[in-house]
Symmetry: C2
Subunit: 416 residues, 2 copies
């Protein structure tokens, strides 16, 4: 067991929010408040930016009940940021400032909650602190709806977003097939490089709804083949539902809005081309004379805490809690992973501490062998993988028929 | 008490679905199955179209448990239609066919579930049957997320859609304000002529979230003033959230996509201009150099049964049930209204039978005195009106973490 390290604990949230990133914050905060060696519990306003600017919220001022409610509150309660630290050899300014701030506020425990970029940030800070001789335990807390983190079974945030996608596809399918006239509905799901969230549309099949076509960015998108397939489906007279990732690309590596911009370039310059779904919908409408509707899940898919997976919420909470427990016991330079306990017949998660470098700056894609050809969906292997992650309904409290999200006081710590 | 009328009962669903229109179908079907004078219970496939084509589902073949699940199943389970009967004096073809079918299948009870157009259909059919001497009791069952039906307090379907809007606005607001960089988020809500559903964004204030600006179609949209207001809000440095109805129009009566088409007319002909929100977002982005995001609730707002208001579900069920109970007792030419019991201090609904003509082909708008000037939202009067309608959480059953919607056998009745 490592020596007792006395000082303040600091959490930062980073990158795009999820509906359970605050559950991890709740895990960190509530656990940190329990340990006597942790003298202060701080939340950085807007991640790294808040540290550089010395904007810290004093978590001891918050009501415990509100911190508990963070479990069910979407978005990043203390503010997020997109900020990539430069290489320390190129520009050490930020690092020196971070060290100064860590010393001034006696920060001995640093937790950073984010995706692969944020794990990279953790790694860089951890290395710099070590080199500078400032003892500080750095533990990463993973999150992302994209589910593209390497070395773990899945990311906190994915389960809830996947539940949103699968549920909404079921509902939209029922709606989209209601008239006796044909309709073409195309739904666009987030995930620029990895198709995990789009794949969740396949989970709707467990509820009895199979979207006609599902396109992931892991497979080159053949637009002519797409029209062929849609044409064949429309010939049956039935309404057609297609689910596409925002990140689908042609084999030349072009996103659909890029392609469209090339077609339209001469016509007019700065058109609002719209997203992948609306462009494809427009072309299908023109080609086949069918009524179309393009639907983007947009921010809803990562903000819909009312549809959170309780499994996901509990896991997100645990990764935060375990980060603190392990840091207090001496862990540093690690992140809290989630792996599936393969010995257990039913789904059970384990939370090993893994080295930061395996997750930093890498992206995990949906395995090719799980993707059926020609947009026909995902295999049973994918369903077996993902279905456990969407189980359980959120315990989000409702008041007046509306979510009762956490209300933090956000008392700023006096600058030193 | 009217004489006992023995024969079949027929329900048709019409117009745009809601997440509770099937709750009304459940009310009709389950009640109809209880009455001995109702010999058969039919569901018309795709409303009037199904009657003209003699496509009837035999509801007696369905499992009661599945009919109960209809209460929580979105969309129109037996299929909807948009079909407006011509004036009988102009073209009696459809009417004669309807009479022939009613006689052939001995239809003595006819229930039609829809909005103002459907109530008009009810009225026309009722008049024609009476004139032709075919005794048939016709009762309208109201529905619409638009809440624009005259003569009643609110429409079944509105409460659930309003709950979806208010909840999603709360979630999106939290997400939209997460970064330290400014963002302009604009959300588009359904309602071509009446702003009831857009007004529901104001209910988010009860949960602590006040959208910066809310624009209803009831007030002429002044685009220059809009830019002024947005500019002033952006100057504060905070992120801005605006909610607009798809139906906002300038004082010259132009919808935003129409305006845009005029601007773009010479550049190129058949552009996919996108919706109101995405056009406004584009212009705000260009004018103020701010990051923008346009979000359309699209079909989600009328299909999201997972977020149904239990109050709405129960009321939708009751209007269906009461329609049958009253028809059996002799009522015809009426629809089942919902009014608020003003004698009760807490919210309580009453279900009077009202003449069809008061609701047919009219539209009820949001009262001007409930709309604050300059997009500042709605008054407390609106909140007092609408808040009771979103109370209670749906009892939708979940299996595998997904909604367990009704699965009907849909056995077609042999054509006579």
């Amino acid at each position: 067991m490592a020596k007792k390290l006395v000082g303040a604990a600091l959490l930062g949230q980073s990158g795009g929010p999820t509906s359970v990133i605050n559950a991890s914050a709740a895990g960190v905060f509530l656990e940190a408040l329990k340990h006597e060696e942790i003298t202060e519990v701080y939340g950085a306003a807007h991640g790294i930016k808040g540290i550089l600017d010395e904007n810290f919220y004093d978590i001891r001022q918050e009501d415990i009940a509100e911190l508990e409610r963070l479990k069910y509150t979407p978005s990043s309660a203390i503010g997020s940021v997109r900020y990539k630290l430069k290489d320390v050899n190129v520009d050490p300014t930020d690092y020196n400032k971070l060290l100064e701030v860590f010393k001034k506020y006696n920060i001995r425990y640093f937790f950073y909650n984010g995706g692969n970029d944020s794990m990279d940030t953790c790694l860089k800070i951890s290395k710099f602190m070590k080199k500078s001789g400032w003892e500080c335990r750095v533990v990463g807390v993973p999150k992302t709806i994209d589910n593209d983190l390497f070395g773990i079974h899945h990311s906190p945030g994915y389960g809830s977003a996947a539940k949103y996608v699968a549920t909404s596809i079921m509902e939209l399918y029922l709606d989209g097939t209601v008239y006796n006239t044909q309709q073409f509905v195309i739904v666009e799901v987030m995930g620029r490089n990895a198709g995990w969230l789009t794949a969740a549309a396949q989970l709707a099949s467990v509820g009895g709804v199979q979207p006609d076509l599902i396109y992931l960015p892991e497979v080159a998108f053949d637009i002519e083949k797409f029209y062929e397939q849609v044409g064949a489906l429309l010939k049956t007279g039935k309404s057609v539902m297609v689910v596409v990732s925002e990140g689908i690309k042609t084999k030349e590596g072009k996103y659909i809005p890029e392609l469209e911009a090339e077609i339209k370039k001469d016509a007019f310059g700065h058109a609002n081309l719209g997203g992948t779904a609306s462009i494809l919908a427009k072309h299908v409408g023109e080609k086949f004379g069918v009524k179309t509707r393009a639907i983007e899940f947009s921010l809803l898919q990562r903000a819909a805490a009312h549809l959170g997976s309780q499994t996901d919420i509990e896991e997100a909470f645990k990764v935060g809690k375990i980060a603190v427990q392990k840091a207090v016991k001496g862990t540093t330079d690690k992140f809290v992973g989630i792996v599936r306990d393969e010995k257990s017949e039913t789904y059970k998660a384990k939370f090993p501490l893994l080295p930061l470098h395996i997750v930093a700056n890498t992206e995990r894609k949906v395995p090719q062998e799980w993707i059926l050809p020609d947009g026909k969906g995902l295999t049973q292997d994918y369903i077996d993988y993902a279905l456990p992650l969407i189980q359980g309904e959120t315990k989000l409290e409702k008041v007046n028929g509306l979510p009762r999200f956490a209300k933090l006081k956000k008392v700023l710590v006096a600058k030193k």
